[in-house]
């Protein structure tokens, strides 16, 4: 099992639930590290069902959005499924403005997202 510095990963049934250890995801080095840890879930751990729970995350930059898009693409290529939940109103607005809410399956609560897998 890989050691993570940016995320925490637990398992609920078949779903890997990822929470974020940073309240603000904006530092470029941290985003690179975050991306590498997320990509490892797919490319190294071979996880197929992943829920990103953003509870506690207050801010993310467009560079972080880019990592999420690449992560989603990698997971889709591996025939996996990604869902998101717990997104703060301001960040949700970022997803809506950029129309990324049409790319990602975003649910309000973790329970709802888990039930949708």
């Amino acid at each position: 099992m890989a050691t993570h510095r940016r995320i925490d990963v637990t398992k609920t049934g078949d779903v890997s639930v990822v929470t974020f250890l940073d309240r603000k995801i904006l530092d470029e080095a941290a985003i690179q590290e975050l991306g590498a840890e997320l990509f490892g879930l797919v490319e190294v751990d071979n996880r197929k069902a992943i829920l990103l729970d953003f509870t506690g995350v207050e801010f993310l930059s467009s560079a972080a959005l880019g990592k999420l898009i690449t992560f989603d693409r990698k997971l889709k290529t591996a025939k996996g499924r990604l869902k998101m939940c717990g997104i703060a109103p301001g960040i949700l607005e970022v997803f809506q403005v950029t129309k990324l809410n049409k790319v990602f399956d975003i649910r309000t609560e973790a329970a709802e997202a888990l039930a949708a897998f």
Partner: protein, 148 residues
């Protein structure tokens, strides 16, 4: 740096190195001042987002992280207006030529959202003719003409 509390505004001029992470040298104080002037958490979030995008664009895309180039920043905060001017020493770009990241064929591109986010979350985003300097402005909701 200049503070002008007697005039009811906070001003700062700062020159940043073209390094990743240098934006915090501006945003930490800027966000604190917005809070002191009574801006809401939602408004502070919007300014933070736009400022971060402008500052990162200047250092990374404008100056290409060239250690010999600087990012010049002017901030002004009052109880009803935040104005941020970010100027890099790069060749400039045409903001109108940036593809619309919300088009279906570009929706899953990993980059190209910074300018759009700035425009969405601020009231005014204006580039100079060369395209290496941008002025961002946001007005407090309560001070807008159509605000209740």
């Amino acid at each position: 740096m200049a503070d002008n509390p007697s005039a009811g505004c906070w001003q700062r001029s700062i020159v940043l190195p073209s390094e990743r992470g240098s934006s915090r040298l501006v945003t930490d104080d800027l966000l604190e001042q917005l809070g002191l002037f009574g801006w809401s958490p939602e408004e502070i979030f919007a300014v933070h987002l736009a400022a971060e995008e402008a500052l990162v664009n200047a250092a990374v895309h404008g100056n290409k992280l060239d250690p010999l180039k600087r990012v010049h920043v002017e901030c002004e905060v009052s109880s009803d207006l935040i104005r941020l001017t970010v100027t890099d020493e790069g060749p400039g770009f045409d903001p109108e030529a940036v593809p619309d990241c919300t088009l279906a064929e570009r929706l899953e591109c990993a980059s190209g959202r910074g300018v759009m986010l700035m425009r969405s979350f601020m009231n005014r985003v204006e580039y100079n003719a060369k395209g290496n300097s941008v002025v961002l402005e946001k007005c407090r909701e309560a001070s807008l003409p159509d605000a209740e």
